[in-house]
């Protein structure tokens, strides 16, 4: 069609309809994009409580989870003995059942000198058992062994047993507990201590901060 020619009335009607149609289409496309944007915004707002709910357990402060727990009078713990003591975790739900009861090993060295060890092996968290005769803690899972002071003796653990902070209040032994001890939460427990025994022939290795490489060299000394 030649644009200079005057349009017939019928053509004019068709063209304006087409124009209106395309204008309407582009408006609807715009509105659709706007609606996507709106939903994106609503979704982002919605995500805040959902993510907050999901991350809730990780956002709690560690200090809120540990509290002082009474393990009973000192007379319960004979000097020179290591005993298994159970306590109710300070934070539980009503439906925790037996899982809220946590055991720990209490060692009374002498007088008011105590050590309280977590039940969980420093390797992978299995329950270590105390053998009074050989003065060792042994782990049933992968054979980690610890001396009576909690220091690493042998096996796969990288460090000694986790230790709870403790204090004596009016004749009762109290420990600070509440969170499952793992390598990541180890700062809840006291740091590793000096071992009483030199585990290897090298006299320099007096503490358990032995690097794994040194442990390795020690491993090779076992005769075939």
């Amino acid at each position: 069609m030649n644009p200079s020619e005057p349009l017939s009335p019928a053509d004019q009607v068709a063209e304006s309809a087409a124009n209106a149609e395309s204008a309407g289409h582009s408006r609807r496309v715009f509105l659709f994009k706007l609606s996507l944007l709106l939903n994106g915004a609503v979704g982002a707002v919605l995500a805040v409580p959902i993510v907050g709910y999901l991350l809730g357990p990780a956002l709690r402060k560690n200090s809120a989870e540990n509290s002082w727990i009474d393990l009973g009078p000192l007379s319960n713990f004979p000097e020179g003995e290591t005993r298994l003591v159970n306590f109710r975790n300070p934070i539980t739900t009503a439906w925790d059942g037996q899982t809220g009861d946590i055991p720990c090993w209490v060692r009374r060295i002498a007088g008011n000198n105590f050590q309280v060890f977590a039940i969980n092996c420093a390797h992978l968290g299995c329950p270590v058992r105390w053998f009074a005769q050989s003065r060792l803690f042994l782990c049933p899972c992968h054979g980690g062994a610890y001396y009576e002071d909690g220091a690493r003796a042998s096996g796969p653990p990288e460090r000694g047993l986790f230790e709870y902070q403790h204090k004596i209040t009016s004749g009762n032994l109290m420990i600070s507990a509440g969170k499952m001890p793992t390598l990541a939460a180890a700062h809840n427990c006291a740091g590793p201590r000096l071992t009483q025994i030199q585990t290897n022939s090298a006299p320099a290795e007096t503490d358990q901060h032995k690097t794994p490489a040194q442990t390795q060299s020690g491993d090779r000394s076992w005769p075939a």
Partner: protein
């Protein structure tokens, strides 16, 4: 009779007019496949799908009774086993179905790998398959947690200990995993949600995509040595192959899938009937520490690897190895999407499968009898063999008592009984001299703790005297050759006199 059939067709048409899924479903079922692929090698995928259906059904039935609460889960399982009619059988089928599922999925994986099925254009089918494998293992692990017993409790402890080793965010991840400060009610709820809603949901969606792609792209053609995959020509070649040798999947090939699936279902039912349900073992009470936790069959190899890794390698291996392995599996079809499919022309692939299978098998076998774990009650349950006490002096017999009392037996076997953590001591005196034994006992070393603090001098003397009687078959005591050298040279007159003792 004819009227009945007429009416049935009428009903079908009523639904078909509205739903419209009958025709495409029939078309998909009857799609033509190359005749060689109607093979007993091609039945594992469909078998896995059928087991999935079994797991969904038995899982829903168990959920009718199971109480996902830490205080009642174990009791509700006992209730299922003993008080609900056939509850034990449903539990057994779900448990055995899980083991069969893992096995069939692994066989399916090996089969499609050996047949080069991951190559063009089925790369995405493989990649989704890798995720399906991970989800299957995820179901196996979370399912083990829902069997909320001692193994589940300490298994969660192992899981948390592994997660805690993640650099920087380990602590936060442990909190997310446990849902609280300790393994307790919120932990079980989380794993219930994962096992019942999250993983199955993703699993069903991905299985649908996986199957959709199998139908859309056609089943992998039977590999022929020398018939190379080329992205430009493959689709055309496949279509002409299907045109030339094609047979409808249903019924010409599907009967084999159906027969195998029925056999597998029957095997699960039989295992469930004869062997019964798994556990639950002891109550999930952490104060009962007389336990030796062990993971389920599918994870025994990980348990073994964790025992043998040197401590320094453990954390890196735990987090780098899975990324490398899963990454390699995901990238495999993208890196080698073309070329030879037949296993006889892919020696590296065959070797890899063989090595991985033997490795996993060996570690699983080790995981079954855990030679690295001390036997906690060996010192009171395994007596010293009489032959080792006969004609011995009182001191030596006293040493045998020390040997038992100090729990040496938990790690060291005599006469085939005792722990395997340390070497068996039947012929220790033929391998070590008295001095070496004393040093080893008092100072430890290797993988042995030092017993210097746990033994007094009298006990040490007795113990060492007992150990010196253990000379095994040949009975020749070990001698320190250097010591005799020193002693003889000291006697010779050329040697300067030894300095006075300090």
């Amino acid at each position: 009779m004819a009227g009945m059939k007429q009416r049935a067709i009428g009903v079908y048409n009523w639904f078909e007019q509205r739903l419209g899924i009958g025709a495409p479903a029939i078309e998909a079922a009857e799609h033509h496949i190359p005749s060689r692929t109607s093979s007993w090698w091609y039945v594992f995928g469909s078998a896995a799908t059928v087991i999935l259906a079994l797991q969904v059904v038995t899982g829903i039935l168990l959920a009718l009774v199971y109480a996902p609460s830490a205080s009642h889960a174990w009791t509700s399982l006992e209730f299922l086993d003993h008080n609900v009619r056939l509850g034990w059988y449903l539990r057994a089928m779900h448990g055995w179905g899980s083991d069969f599922m893992v096995a069939i999925v692994l066989i399916h994986l090996v089969q499609v790998f050996m047949f080069g099925a991951y190559k063009f254009p089925r790369e995405l089918t493989w990649i989704i398959g890798v995720f399906l494998l991970l989800l299957t293992l995820g179901m196996a692990f979370t399912g083990q947690v829902l069997r909320f017993d001692q193994d589940a409790y300490w298994g969660l402890g192992i899981g948390a200990s592994i997660v805690s080793r993640v650099p920087w965010v380990g602590g936060a991840l442990v909190d997310l995993m446990l849902g609280g400060p300790i393994i307790a009610g919120p932990t079980l709820s989380r794993f219930f949600t994962l096992h019942v809603f999250v993983i199955p949901g993703i699993l069903l969606v991905l299985v649908s995509l996986h199957l959709l792609m199998v139908v859309r792209l056609g089943i992998n053609d039977w590999p022929m040595p020398g018939r190379l995959v080329n992205k430009k020509t493959y689709v055309e070649e496949y279509h002409s192959l299907t045109k030339k040798t094609g047979i409808p999947f249903v019924p010409d090939a599907a009967w084999k899938d159906a027969v195998f699936a029925a056999a597998i279902l029957l095997a699960i039912m039989a295992c469930a009937f004869w062997f019964g349900p798994f556990g639950p073992t002891g109550q999930p009470d952490p104060t009962i520490i007389e336990t030796a936790p062990k993971p389920d069959f599918a994870f025994l190899w990980i348990y073994a690897v964790l025992a043998y890794l040197p401590p320094s390698l453990e954390t890196p291996a735990l987090f780098i190895a899975p990324v490398v392995i899963i990454g390699a599996m995901l990238l495999l079809p993208l890196v080698s999407g073309e070329g030879e499919k037949h296993w006889s022309r892919r020696p590296v692939a065959v070797l890899m499968v063989a090595v991985i299978a033997v490795t996993l098998g060996a570690f699983t076998r080790l995981g079954m009898y855990t030679p690295w774990s001390p036997i906690m009650n060996a010192w009171t349950s395994d007596p010293v063999p009489q032959s080792d006490l006969k004609d011995r002096s009182p001191l030596e017999r006293q040493g045998a008592i020390v040997f038992q009392n100090k729990q040496c037996r938990n790690c060291h076997a005599i006469g085939g009984n005792g722990g395997m953590r340390g070497p068996a001591l039947d012929s220790i005196a033929s391998q070590m001299t008295e001095d070496q034994i004393i040093r080893q006992v008092l100072q430890g070393g290797g993988n042995m703790p030092a017993y210097g603090n746990a033994l007094n001098p009298a006990e040490t003397t007795a113990l060492v005297h007992f150990l010196l009687t253990l000379r095994g078959q040949n009975g020749i005591p070990a001698i320190d050759a250097a010591r005799t050298m020193v002693l003889t040279t000291e006697k010779s007159p050329t040697t300067p006199t030894a300095p006075p003792a300090p």
